[in-house]
Amino acid sequence: MSDNESQESMNTSSTLPGQERYVAPADTVKLQDVDSIDESAPATSMWADAWRTLRKNPLFIVSAVLIVCVIFVALFPGVFTHQDPNFCQLEHSLEPSSAGHPFGYDTQGCDVFTRTVYGTRTSLSVGVLTTILVVLFGTLIGALGGFFGGWVDAVLSRCTDIFMAIPLLLGAIVVLQMFRTSGSVWKIVLVLTLFGWTQTARIARGSVMETKNLEFNTASTALGSTPLRNLVSHIMPNSLASIIVVGTTSLGTYIVSEATLSFLGIGLPTTTVSWGGDISNAQTILRTDPAVLFYPSAALAITVLAFIMMGDAVKDALDPKSRTA
């Protein structure tokens, strides 16, 4: 008590300069209601929020335009060229560009422009199909492991480790050397899926495990919800963002993988038009006619770049850290 009394007694006499009693005039600081709601701002869901961030990101705009173009070329190659990509005449071999053949001819006398246009479909379908399969399969495995935990998780995790230990390219080579003659893109898609799902599975597992422990799931259970309902209506939607991010980014790498395999001669045979195959064919004449190699390479690089940039932009927009939680 004595302490306080002495302090009290000093208050009036002992105030130091700069520490006098100060009260702000009530009108300079507007006192708001406790915890009032700002009703003026527009309501936004996570997706709307992400979309707003995306729209302002130049990376997204550039990549979106490129991707739309690439998709259009892949769907309607006929709009851009009337030639058959496999129509080659040896007499045109290595002719430079001319009217109607802006990129010139390759060694076999095929029109480089036409082949580049038609190659789009191969690359894109490999990329898109692989991504879809990888995301479906990887998410399934990862979500099951993360959700059930225990021995289910242990077994699935070890399986993931095993597949992860085999480098994508090597695994693909081992399998593909046996199916060298098949011209279907599906063999590439399946092989890439076989060795590519592990990354998605890991991310899905981590995300599900993280979301599973959040309080809204416990709250839901206490409201009477079942674990399975929680998985479907809370856990999966909340894990979706990270899965979308990894999916978008890896789409580009699958396109590269296909091209690499075709380049090594164990991907698609030359009868299927693909950028990788064409680049491979052009390497022998690199010193004399670099242009033949340039066009499919550029098309490949631009496509991949577009998807990787898109992945970056989506990641920025959906990154939970950047959101005001």
Binding site: I162, L170, T260, I266, L286, A301
Partner: protein, 308 residues
């Protein structure tokens, strides 16, 4: 630490077994006849085919085949090539070259990746940050073989700075361009990883606390930002060392470096399944061992793991 290591090694055993089983199964048990694949486009000689089947135990039940393969693999006995050479001696000849190439690529990507990543992360938003970012994006998007051709064309043919191809007994200069090409994609990833680590670590509370101690900016960055950013970067580098070996295939093919990748490629072209399986098994093992090393390194770098 000891317990942690032991646990990791024990966890590695099923992975190694599973991986070799998987590789073996993919080659010898998938629909599609491996013997037929060995003949490639040539007509199949029934007698030779039967001999091959016996040699590779393909006439026995699958699990027995695998166990025999495993036993042979453990003794480094991978059989012979078509030409009668022991597979292991072919591999032994090519291996040092690839190791040299991979190490050069590793140094290249580690040094440049980390340095550019740090610069970029510390000076986020500056023009050179943007340049570094765009270059790394391009390196990731352009496939390695295209980077290789571009390098060959400009550095080799046009400007004549570096040898275009390496040949069978390559020296440092011969391997410089292949190593740069091999390391380029990983370098780009390391730049991005380092950048994001540095820029997120710099905002950590303990960095502010360190500044509040009155430490110089330099020691704050080195001791608190870089030291912590290093952990994931070193992890990535370690894992990459394993995959550089397998990734060397493209670089070696383009630059005619007679290493493991080149050997694999030639074996694929010649249909030497035995050689391919052997190499893949070896590289996978190297990959798994590298991952174990990474785990150890990780534990050494991060005290939170050490005692977990």
């Amino acid at each position: 630490m000891g317990k942690y290591l032991l646990r990791r090694i024990l966890q590695m055993i099923p992975v190694v077994l599973g991986t070799t089983l998987l590789v073996y199964a993919l080659v010898f048990a998938l629909p599609g006849d491996p013997v037929k694949a060995m003949f490639g486009d040539k007509p199949i000689n029934a007698a030779v085919a039967a001999q091959i089947r016996a040699e590779y135990n393909l006439d026995k039940p699958f699990i027995v085949q695998y166990l025999l393969f495993l036993k042979n693999a453990l003794t480094l006995n991978f059989g012979n090539t078509f030409a009668g050479q022991p597979v292991i001696s072919e591999i032994g000849r090519a291996f040092p070259v690839t190791i040299k190439l991979a190490l050069m690529a590793f140094c290249f990507e580690a040094i440049f990746g980390v340095v550019f990543g740090i610069i970029s992360g510390l000076k986020k938003g500056k023009w050179y940050d943007s340049v570094i970012l765009i270059v790394s994006l391009l390196l990731i998007s352009v496939p390695t073989f295209v980077t290789g051709f571009l390098g060959q064309y400009f550095l080799g043919v046009k400007w004549r700075l570096l040898p275009v191809t390496a040949g069978s007994d390559p020296g440092f200069l011969d391997l410089l361009m292949p190593a740069m090409v091999l390391g380029s994609v990983s370098m780009a990833y390391i730049i991005r990883l380092t950048r994001s680590e540095v820029s997120s670590n710099i905002a950590e509370d303990y960095v502010r606390t360190a500044r509040a101690k009155g430490m110089s900016n330099r020691s704050v960055i080195v001791r608190h930002v870089l030291r912590n950013s290093l952990i994931p970067v070193v992890t990535y580098l370690g894992q990459d060392l394993g995959s550089l070996m397998s990734g060397a295939m493209i670089s070696e093919t383009i630059f005619n470096v007679h290493g493991i990748g080149f050997l694999t490629y030639q074996s694929i072209l010649k249909g030497e399944s035995n050689m391919v399986v052997s190499i893949v098994t070896l590289l996978t093992l190297i990959f798994v061992v590298c991952n174990l090393l990474v785990d150890m390194l990780y534990a050494a770098l991060d005290p939170r793991i050490r005692y977990a």
